[in-house]
């Protein structure tokens, strides 16, 4: 199952938490691709909601970029820059292989922040590549974006790639997103 979830900027973090809880509740292992918050900060936000670091994997494209320390961990892969799509793609492939067997889901946070680093057209191609990879590997994917934060072409392409496009309220009502 592939979903594009859109929300107001002030709801994005809450939406991330809501989605994480739903992914874990469905017995799926999440792989968070973050171009928004460093891993260290993300772990604190999740921990406060009772989500331990042993329950998820992370690809962090911002810690190194912000000059932070990148402590090695089997559950985390660091990419030096959010615009480094080659390394981001490799990291996704490698970490998906390393993850334990069973249901997996990528949570991409967020498409809107990725647009700081790459043009819409490039973002669209990259997301298409990720979606293809997920479909071939039978992995679910949830992409977060700010409402009206995608150009109409990227939005229509994304809508064609994914199974559902939902806003925050609609996503909240779903018992299972996957």
């Amino acid at each position: 199952m592939l979903c594009l979830l859109v929300a107001q900027p002030e709801q994005i973090q809450d939406m991330n938490l809501m989605v994480m809880k739903k992914i874990l509740a469905s017995g799926c292992t999440p792989l968070i691709v973050t171009v928004n918050k460093p891993y260290k900060v993300l772990t604190k936000i999740y921990a406060k909601e009772g989500i331990g670091p042993e329950s998820y994997f992370v690809i962090d494209a911002v810690t190194q970029y912000s000059g932070g320390v990148c402590p090695p961990s089997p559950r985390v892969k660091y990419v030096n820059n959010p615009s480094n799509l080659t390394d981001l793609g490799i990291a996704i492939t490698e970490l998906l292989k390393q993850m334990p067997e069973g249901k997996k889901c990528i949570l991409f946070d967020s498409v809107s922040m990725l647009l700081i680093h790459i043009p819409s057209a490039t973002a669209s191609k990259f997301l298409h590549f990720v979606v293809n990879k997920l479909q071939l590997s039978d992995v679910s994917g949830i992409f977060l974006s700010v409402e009206k934060g995608l150009d109409p072409v990227v939005m229509s392409q994304m809508s064609a790639f994914v199974d559902h496009v939902m806003d925050y309220e609609q996503a909240q009502k779903q018992t299972c997103l996957l």
Partner: protein, 221 residues
């Protein structure tokens, strides 16, 4: 009651009307073709049609209209077979170099000496199309600027508020705050760079760099 006034072309003193119409046909700033609808052949063309197509009148006379000024297949002529009204419709004419020239096309039926002909007029809208493209380019860059600046800035604004709250509550240590501030400082620098690049491209009018799908979307009626 005053009588109906006669215009220049209404006067028929000594056969000069034909000269008047010949002059108009040659000087009018609209490209004109006269087509024999039975044979679908060009039987006359004015000088502006010559400059529009890059072909001489001699090269056009006897030439079929299909595949030249009309995309219809044989038996599917929009005027004679499908009985459609062609009035200021956007079409393309293929010129001598094989280039497609955008035009506004109008077709009117006319009777000359008991035989029906098609009077086809063409207005070159290349400059109008270029202006449309330019407008699409500017809209695309404006839209891209908003997407790559406004939305991320809104997200960053919320992040800053969150950092303040978490710093006050003691949830974040100094390194957490430093990292996020450094990240957003870099993000802001990147947004400024993006805006400068977009502005430079918009000023150069690099419409070719706009994804064709986006251009199509913007020009959709």
């Amino acid at each position: 009651m005053p009588g109906k006034k006669a215009g220049l072309t209404d006067r028929t003193p000594d056969g000069s009307v034909q000269d008047i119409f010949r002059t108009i046909f040659e000087r009018i700033q609209t490209a004109i073709l006269i087509v024999d609808p039975a044979a679908h052949e060009i039987v006359d063309a004015n000088p502006l049609m010559e400059s529009l197509t890059g072909l001489t009148k001699d090269q056009m006379l006897g030439k079929g209209c299909q595949g030249f000024v009309c995309p219809a297949k044989c038996g599917e002529c929009p005027v004679t077979d499908l009985h459609k009204n062609i009035l200021n419709i956007e079409r393309e004419v293929i010129n001598a170099k094989g280039e497609r020239v955008p035009v506004l096309k109008t077709v009117a039926k006319a009777d000359f000496g008991g035989k029906e002909y098609l009077v086809e007029s063409y207005v070159d809208i290349t400059s109008h199309k270029k202006a449309e493209e330019r407008q699409a380019a500017l809209l695309a860059y404006l839209s891209e600027s908003i997407l790559r600046a406004k939305k991320p800035l809104e997200l960053m604004q919320n992040d800053f508020q969150d950092i303040v709250k978490k710093a006050e509550s003691g949830d974040y240590d100094a390194e957490d705050i430093r990292m996020q501030l450094a990240l957003h400082a870099k993000n802001l620098a990147q947004i400024v760079k993006n805006l400068e690049e977009l502005q430079a491209k918009a000023l150069k009018g690099k419409s070719a760099e706009i994804p064709p799908e986006f251009r199509e979307f913007l020009l959709r009626k």
